[in-house]
Structures are given as structure tokens and as C-alpha cells.
């Protein structure tokens, strides 16, 4: 339980940040505390249940205590927002903690979001520079990344569309992504169970095999089952991803370097992975925009895999600011695809981030 005095000090810190975001041109917006669970579950999947408090409303069904602001702010913008728009917000978010410890389950977030079609890389740099300025003096380490480069590399792989789709679907689940890539690249042996399954599938037409398997039950239709059986057989016959191309992707997954050096490295591998060229160009533009705002890009940390284990919506630039022994003090990134998912047919490039004022206050010794 937080101390009343602490809460006041944290709110004071939050108010300073909130005022700074408004001074940077953002319109202050509010969001509901109780959000329909369905939208959040659709976006994040079952994992969100482990992280958000779920409650029931007698009329509206399952509701969640706001786990973050991004979804309601994007929804409000897609419903009737100005174009372009800059928003800021300040309020509590709630995160269920599944482990004993001192991580907060209720805390203030202060955030800033930019919806702008004109110059995405300039907007990325604007958000990062704004955040870097607000947390300067706290001794934080900044880390940046770009999930767009990884996605472009996967989209450009010379393999089947099905394999590219499987890898893209698991970008945010690094362990399964790695297992799939190992298999598609022929680095991991086909599991014995899969070999046996393929032998069984080769033993007859799918509808015969389904009939032999006993009573048919369930909503998954025979044609769905037959379609995947066929897909498994086709996949077993597909050639592995070529070793040099796979090696480049493994290299990219592990790339960690100062941003300037990372750009040089990416330029170096682009001739061999031409599909990443537009994403690398965007990375270069972003570094120019950051440099123009006074960010030291030659020492700025870059990790190609940053943001892959967080909420599943960042699809471009990502950043976070860290201190030892606590969660990230500030995080953010680009989420263009999310606006399409929530926009009912419309979309707009968007980038933003949040600061956790209770961590700022702790670092300043105010609590």
C-alpha cells in the first residue's frame, strides 16, 4: 500500500510531466477507467487476463480496469480526432502482479501520443527527444529499436507465404519465432512426432483419415482440418530457407550496437536482404531527425529485438529508458497497425509513449 504522502509527491511529479506535454503542443484527454474486456482481449490475447483486473458489469459484461491508455486514446482519436493530432493524458493504470514483490499494481502514467501522416520519422524523433529531455538528469540508459526492420526482413524471406506469415505472427513471441525459424531454415531436425504425423497423413485422403479417427465432434470443420493437413504436407516439401539468408536474419535478431554503427551494419547487409532497404532508409531518416534535435546518435544504444516481448502492437520505432532495479521508467514506440485494427477501415501513423512518475519520484528521492 502506498503512503498518502507518497501519492501526493507522485501526483506532483506527474503534474509536472503532464504540463510539459501540454507545453509541447498536446491536447489533454481523459479516458474511462473501466474498459470493455473484449477489445483488449482481441488485441492482446489471453495474456492480458494475467495482467489486467477483470470484473463484470451486469449489463456490459466483462470489463477491465484500464491496463494502459493507448487503446482508449486511439479509439477516441479514430472516432472523431483531428488530423494531425497530439494528445497527452495522466491517470491511474492497473496491472495485476502474479508474483510477490514490490512492483506496483496501481500507478500513475503520463503519456504523449502523436497522430500525424506527414513525416513519421520526424514524429519519432520529436517524441524521443521530448521524453529524453524530461527524464534527463535521472541517470537513465536509453535504448532504441525498430521492429519494422525485422518485419521487413521476414516479409522479404525467400520462402513460402505460409512460413512468412507464421514468423510474422510470432514476432512478439521470441521463443516460438526462434523455434520456427530454426525449423524453416533446416537448423533444427523435424520433431519425431511431426515425422510420424506426416506419415499418417500420407496414408490416405484427409476425409478418410478423419472418418477413421472416430466420431466427429467440435466446431472446427472437416475442411479446416483437411486444409491444414494439406498445408503440413506442402510445408514438409518446401525447401529450407537458404543458409546465407537465414544467417542474415539470425544476425539481425541479435544486432546490438550504437545507432550510428547499427546503421552502417544494416547498410552493409541490405544488398543481401534487399527487402529491408525501405525500412533501413526510414531508420537513417530517423537518425538524422534525432541528430537535428540534439540526440547523440553515435552513442545511442540500438537493439534490433527491443520491444518484442512487450505489448503486441509496436511495429516500428521503439524506445525505453532504464535505471537499475526497477521497471522501465519510460517506454514508447510506433503502432501504425493498431490504428487500423481499431479504426474500422481507417488508419493513421501513430507514435507515443508513457512515463511512470512514481519511478521518477523515487529516483529523485521525493518518496
Amino acid at each position: 500500500m502506498s503512503q498518502p504522502g507518497n501519492k501526493a509527491a507522485i501526483r506532483a511529479e506527474a503534474s509536472l510531466l503532464f504540463a510539459a506535454f501540454q507545453a509541447a503542443g498536446a491536447v489533454a484527454v481523459e479516458a474511462d477507467l473501466l474498459l470493455p474486456a473484449e477489445t483488449l482481449l482481441d488485441l492482446y490475447g489471453e495474456d492480458i487476463r494475467a495482467r489486467a483486473y477483470v470484473t463484470t458489469d451486469p449489463l456490459r459484461g466483462e470489463m477491465m480496469l484500464r491496463p494502459d491508455f493507448t487503446v482508449p486514446v486511439v479509439q477516441a482519436h479514430m472516432a472523431d480526432g483531428a488530423d494531425p493530432a497530439r494528445y497527452c493524458y495522466m491517470g491511474e493504470v492497473f496491472r495485476k502482479q502474479e508474483h510477490l514483490g514490490n512492483r506496483a499494481s496501481e500507478y500513475l502514467q503520463v503519456g504523449f501520443e502523436v497522430f500525424d501522416r506527414t513525416a513519421p520519422e520526424a514524429a519519432d524523433a520529436e517524441v524521443f527527444a521530448l521524453f529524453a529531455g524530461l527524464v534527463s538528469g535521472l541517470g537513465l540508459r536509453a535504448v532504441t529499436g525498430d521492429i519494422g526492420i525485422l518485419m521487413a526482413a521476414v516479409r522479404g524471406l525467400e520462402t513460402t507465404e505460409r512460413r512468412r506469415a507464421a514468423l510474422l505472427r510470432h514476432i512478439w513471441r521470441p521463443k516460438r519465432f526462434r523455434a520456427l525459424l530454426d525449423r524453416f531454415a533446416g537448423r533444427a531436425a523435424v520433431p519425431a512426432g511431426r515425422v510420424a504425423l506426416l506419415e499418417r497423413l500420407a496414408g490416405g485422403a484427409p476425409d478418410e483419415l478423419i472418418a477413421q479417427a472416430g466420431a466427429f465432434i467440435g466446431l472446427r470443420a472437416p475442411e479446416d482440418i483437411a486444409a491444414r493437413a494439406q498445408a503440413l504436407i506442402e510445408d514438409a516439401q518446401a525447401a529450407p530457407i537458404k543458409a546465407p539468408e537465414a544467417a542474415l536474419l539470425y544476425d539481425l535478431l541479435g544486432l546490438q550496437a550504437p545507432a550510428g554503427a547499427a546503421l552502417g551494419h544494416l547498410r552493409g547487409i541490405t544488398p543481401m536482404l534487399p527487402a529491408i532497404a525501405p525500412a533501413v532508409d526510414r531508420f537513417a531518416h530517423r537518425l538524422e531527425a534525432l541528430r537535428a534535435r540534439g540526440v547523440a546518435v553515435d552513442t545511442l544504444a540500438f537493439e534490433a529485438s527491443l520491444g518484442r516481448t512487450s505489448m503486441e502492437y509496436y511495429d516500428g520505432f521503439v524506445f525505453s529508458f532504464h535505471a537499475d532495479g526497477m521497471p522501465a521508467v519510460a517506454t514508447g514506440g510506433r503502432y501504425d497497425a493498431l490504428t487500423a485494427v481499431l479504426g474500422a477501415g481507417r488508419s493513421i501513423p501513430a507514435v507515443g509513449g508513457i512515463i511512470r512518475p512514481h519511478l521518477v519520484a523515487a529516483l529523485k528521492g521525493a518518496i
Binding site: L41, D42, G45, E46, D47, R49, A50, E98, H99, L100, A166, R169, H170, R173, K175, R176, F177, A179, P191, G193, R194, A196, L197, R200, L201, P206, L209, I210, A213, G214, A215, F216, I217, G218, L219, R220, A221, P222, D224, I225, A227, R228, A229, L232
Partner: protein, 233 residues
């Protein structure tokens, strides 16, 4: 006084009584046959508390009982950071069951968790909602599927007759405990070959949160009699 919670009926209760009885601690129901009260003989200072096996994890966590007999599946599912809240004193060698994931036998294309993940992606694309897995073990199943990197599924709560949910079209797959697999086969389901989430059995647990000041002496005598080496509690 040391309070020990034991399952209040059925095979779990009988097997628990047998286990303690074989070690010189006689437990028995008192009063009318269906009355939930019991007595302990063979050792002083132990009070028997008859409880539903499903409530014993919560009572241990709250420290209202010092010791408790229940399934390791229930403790791991119901208690966050279970090993910080309770300590395992001894497995009891009965109540064996595996928590597994099962799908319809007619899914000829699905044998592993990896297949389930791929089937879930295709199912969501066709049906517009995430593949439903019926279970009462929400925490264990979700942690397992998260660790395995499975997406596009949802858990739906089922507190009983879980094997029937697929036929009734309220779920596409189930996650449940099974010992022989007979109920699964009777309901046209098969177990995914790599889906053993937990191998469970009845375990004697000690509460780390209970007040042990009056009970520690009794616990040490009881442990000697039962032949147990006590962990730090």
C-alpha cells in the same frame, strides 16, 4: 495446537487417513457419517479440520491451518508464487493425475502444442474468434501456453464435465487432469503428445504464513513420527 486440513470426503480422504494411519497417526471422522468433523489419535496437540480439497490451498495461504493435504495441481493453480506461501513436506503417493491438453481425435492434423498453435491461427481466421480451451486450471494453463508461445486462443471456465464441452460446442479443446485417459477417449478426445503441464499427486503442505509459535513443537514431534525431514518454513 497444530491444525491440519484434510479432504472431507471420498477417496482422497480415505487415502489420507490410510497414509497417516500407516505411520501411527490415526485420523477418523467423528459424529454422524456425513458430519464434517474429525479426531486425531496417537499424537497430542493436533486438530483435524475437514475441508474441501479445493479450499485447502487458500486456507494454507491464509495461515488458518498449519498443515494441509491437497493436490499439487490445486496449490500451483490457486496460489501465486505458491512456494513462497507454502512448503512441500512430503508427496503422499496417491491421487496421481496429469494436467494435459486434449483435442478432438478427429483432428488428424494436430499432435503437438505447435500444431495447436497453428490450428488456432487458422481457426480464428475462419471463425472470427480465438480458439476456446475449456479448463478450471486457468493459471497453470495460461502460464504453460505463454511459455510455449501459443497465440490466438482463449480460456473458457469449466468447473466440471469439461470433457463434454467440445461436443457441446462451447470449446474447441480442453485442459484438464486425467489419470487413465478413459473419460477423454469416451468423449472422442486425444491428448497432445507434448502437453503434460503438470504431474500432480496428493502432497502434505505446510503453511509459511501460519502462526507457528505454539505449533512448532507439535510439528517436530509429528515429523519424527511420520519420518519426515522438515524444510525451513
Amino acid at each position: 495446537m497444530l491444525k491440519i486440513g484434510v479432504p472431507s470426503k471420498g477417496r482422497l480422504m480415505e487415502k489420507t487417513f490410510e497414509w497417516f494411519g500407516a505411520r501411527g497417526v490415526a485420523m477418523r471422522q467423528t459424529g454422524a457419517e456425513r458430519e464434517y468433523s474429525g479426531a486425531v489419535e496417537g499424537i497430542d496437540g493436533v486438530e483435524l479440520v475437514m475441508l474441501s480439497a479445493g479450499e485447502i490451498p487458500r486456507e494454507l495461504a491464509a495461515g488458518r491451518i498449519h498443515l494441509g493435504v491437497t493436490g499439487s495441481d490445486l496449490v500451483r493453480d490457486k496460489l501465486a508464487d505458491w512456494d513462497v506461501q507454502v512448503a512441500e513436506l512430503s508427496p503422499l503417493g496417491f491421487g496421481h493425475a496429469d494436467l494435459i491438453i486434449a483435442v478432438p481425435s478427429c483432428w488428424i492434423d494436430v499432435d503437438t502444442v505447435d500444431d495447436l498453435d497453428a490450428a488456432a491461427a487458422a481457426f480464428r481466421a475462419v471463425h472470427g474468434f480465438r480458439l476456446r480451451i475449456a479448463t478450471k486450471y486457468h493459471r497453470l494453463v495460461r502460464e504453460f501456453l505463454t511459455a510455449q508461445g501459443v497465440a490466438d486462443y482463449q480460456l473458457v471456465d469449466s468447473q466440471g464435465a469439461t470433457e463434454g464441452t467440445v461436443k457441446n460446442l462451447t470449446a474447441e479443446a480442453i485442459a484438464d487432469i486425467t489419470s487413465s485417459g478413459e473419460t477423454l477417449r469416451a468423449n472422442h478426445l486425444k491428448i497432445l503428445s507434448d502437453s503434460v503441464i503438470l504431474q500432480s499427486q496428493a502432497v502434505l503442505f505446510a503453511s509459511r504464513g501460519a502462526d507457528w509459535t505454539q505449533a512448532r513443537g507439535v510439528l517436530e514431534r509429528l515429523a519424527t513420527q511420520l519420518g519426515l525431514i522438515l524444510p525451513r518454513i
